[in-house]
Amino acid sequence: MSEQNLPSINLALCNHCTLCVTNCPENALEMTEQGPVFIDPISCSYCRDCEHLCPTAAIRAPLVVTWRAK
């Protein structure tokens, strides 16, 4: 699981509400003074709960759409 597939966090938009940290099913996030950081990136399952819960759209878990390779 590569690091570039982690949700991206815009710390400038973060309001430190901790919803992402407390609701992460894999406990992959921790709140710091700057905002949330992935303390256990390997365990992130890309469920996108953090993106969904973030009230300020500071977390993006984007999807790339492709056709199945032939």
């Binding site: 399952s45 996108r48 993106e51 009230p55 984007p62 999807l63 790339v64 759409v65 492709t66 199945r68």
Partner: protein
């Protein structure tokens, strides 16, 4: 600024060389990192922007404090023009940079000068506003003519057929683009997956059945 930068922006290609020179004399460029907040909703509108390279998204805060993604803009797209043309002159949305972006900046006084003195520039701005209005009209027509399931199928095919965006699309952004909410997009993606039309993997939606998806897109 260099006239070459002006020539890099496709929508300026229709302008007279004199107009392009007038823009070059007044505009300046800025490179913005991913995650940078270019504009904040409700703040005084001081400039408009034209994207040279990169991608940004527009966000707006609901009355309950939640942020909603409205749209995405990329190379050639103007930003904040409507804010400069309204009476209040405040930013209509927050603009966040998605991937490293270069923008050409025109301050209010320079924008007003160009609008007042260069007919081809004001015509260009009118065409841009008409294009935005036309998009909204298309969306309104789509909303009344096609079910959200059809709109999602059509958008997925469109995304897969063309060069993928380097910053990808979140469910919120897909929802904003097709005129629905993310929960509906999530439910429909689950339905598509159950029906064997798509496969969802970490950060990826893989389309499996073009014929069936195309059929749904016409429903």
């Amino acid at each position: 600024m260099e006239i070459e930068t002006i020539n890099q922006i496709a929508i300026f290609s229709s302008l007279d060389s004199e107009t392009r020179l007038a823009i070059a004399q007044r505009a300046f460029t800025r490179r913005l990192p991913a995650g940078f907040t270019l504009l904040t909703e409700g703040m005084p509108a001081e400039s408009c922007y034209f994207i040279v390279t990169g991608e940004v998204r527009a966000l707006r805060m609901n009355t309950d404090g939640r942020v909603q993604v409205l749209a995405r803009f990329s190379a050639g797209d103007p930003i904040n023009i409507i804010s400069l043309l309204t009476e209040e002159k405040t930013n209509r949305a927050t603009i966040e940079v998605l991937s490293p972006t270069s923008v050409l900046i025109l301050q209010t006084a320079d924008f007003d000068f160009l609008i007042s003195n260069y007919t081809d520039f004001s015509n260009l701005i009118l065409r841009q506003l008409a294009a935005r209005l036309s998009k909204i009209t298309d969306l309104a027509a789509d909303l009344s003519l096609y079910a959200v399931r059809a709109r999602l199928a059509r958008f997925l095919i469109e995304l897969a057929d063309f060069t993928p965006s380097p910053s990808g699309w979140t469910q919120d952004e897909i929802a904003a683009h097709i005129g629905t909410v993310r929960d509906v997009v999530g439910r429909l993606l689950r339905d598509f997956e159950s029906a064997g039309l798509i496969l969802r993997q970490r950060g990826q939606i893989i389309l499996l059945d073009r014929d069936h998806l195309s059929e749904i897109a016409q429903d």
